[in-house]
């Protein structure tokens, strides 16, 4: 029975992936991509990886979907002709073919190589879990044992936001988006906002002992910001350049600051004292949640050229 579910999921996944690649209409391609993200979240749950499933549903399907739809609106605005599939020029086609084949070959080689971990990493993690300050192994790896990786990941996100600013400044065809002056949406969101913030903070708090954590909480927070913006509520913070960019680097700065505190006591960078590790991790995660939420929201915001215009009723 379980095999049947898995097989169905795999078939749907492959079908959606090829549909989103080969559909002519870009709008449909984006829709299929969002569906792909949702099915992929289910697949991660089947693989016993609820952390990744949460991140996939929130970031892969949610925020990426919003960004892609937004990009689509820009494409529509910049060209009057509907965007179509373009034939690659000869040398580029061969280059793409060769590099694609190369990647497949390397992956095949990597799979055929027998996996022989020199050390049993999962055992090491469970042995040291009591010293990490949290009880959930994923969080322990992300923010204690391998916090260097997480630090660099957040740096990449900040970099992406900076690139988005640069691209916006060179955009010759700004798009004016409209917000939705819908009274029911307004009323319902008033009801939902506290709940969304509560869920975000819960995800952050739960990360210490259960699936959850800064990335998932940040994505939920970003969704709340986007909804906030779509109903036309003013965001003065986002208009101010200092607040905007300060928000991006807040989490990273806090991470580096907390991470370098052990240097004062002659300990290596990013090693927390065992007794206070839990507090340190929570502090870092809180900073990361706010910054990740802000960065993801800014990427949406930056694609808007000017404050949203009120939609004219026809």
């Amino acid at each position: 029975m379980n095999e049947l579910i898995d097989l169905t999921l795999v078939c749907i996944l492959l079908g959606l992936a090829s549909l989103s690649l080969f559909t002519q209409s870009l709008f449909r391609a984006v829709m299929f991509f969002i569906l792909l993200g949702l099915i992929l979240a289910l697949v991660w749950i089947r693989l016993d990886a609820p952390d990744i499933a949460l991140a996939e549903a929130a970031i892969g399907a949610g925020i990426t979907g919003i960004l892609l739809l937004d990009a689509l609106a820009h494409l529509r605005a910049t060209s009057n002709t509907p965007p179509q599939l373009r034939q690659l020029k000869q040398p580029r086609f061969w280059l793409a073919l060769i590099s694609g084949a190369g990647v497949i070959l390397l992956l095949a080689l990597a799979i055929s190589e027998p996996l022989a971990p020199a050390v049993a990493l999962d055992l090491q993690v469970s042995e040291n879990l009591t010293n990490s300050g949290v009880t959930h192994p994923i969080t322990a790896i992300l923010l204690n044992f391998r916090s260097y990786d997480t630090l660099l990941e957040v740096a990449v996100l900040v970099l992406a936001a900076l690139v988005a600013v640069t691209l916006r400044q060179s955009d010759e065809h700004p798009v004016v988006n409209e917000y939705l002056p819908n009274p029911l949406l307004h009323a319902c969101l008033k009801l939902f906002f506290p709940m969304i913030f509560l869920v975000s903070m819960y995800l952050l708090w739960a990360g210490a002992a259960q699936p959850g954590g800064a990335f998932q909480a940040g994505a939920v927070l970003a969704a709340a910001f986007v909804l906030f913006y779509l109903v036309g509520l003013k965001t003065q913070l986002a208009q101010n350049d200092i607040y905007l960019k300060g928000g991006w680097i807040f989490g990273l700065a806090l991470f580096v600051l907390v991470g370098s505190m052990p240097l004062l006591y002659g300990q290596p960078f990013l090693t927390y004292p065992d007794s206070q590790a839990g507090i340190f991790i929570l502090l870092i995660e809180l900073g990361l949640t706010l910054s990740i939420g802000w960065i993801l929201f800014s990427m949406f915001l930056l694609s808007q050229s000017s404050p949203l215009q009120k939609k004219d009723s026809p």
Partner: protein, 111 residues
Amino acid sequence: MSLLAILQSFLLIAGALMFCIGSLGLIRFPDTYTRIHALTKADNLGLGLIVLALILNVESVALALKLLLIWGLVMIASALSGHLVAWEADEQCIPLCQPGETERHLESEDE
């Protein structure tokens, strides 16, 4: 097979059936407005039946309340999204399909 299991199976199958009917409506109904009608109403009932079936064998009250909360939130969200799609379709002056009119391909999905 206990009475509980029979009741649960009945509720689950009925819920799945409601989802099927909703999807059938989405495919078969002629215009945006009637399609929303099929999706938002039939699916909410389907989810409600499935939630009821699951509540029958949860251990704690908290878990049952969580399931009910999910149902309630999904109902609000789907009513809201249905309303928004209909509202936007109306703003764009997408016409209603008149009774007796044959199916036609409305270009609503690309807007």
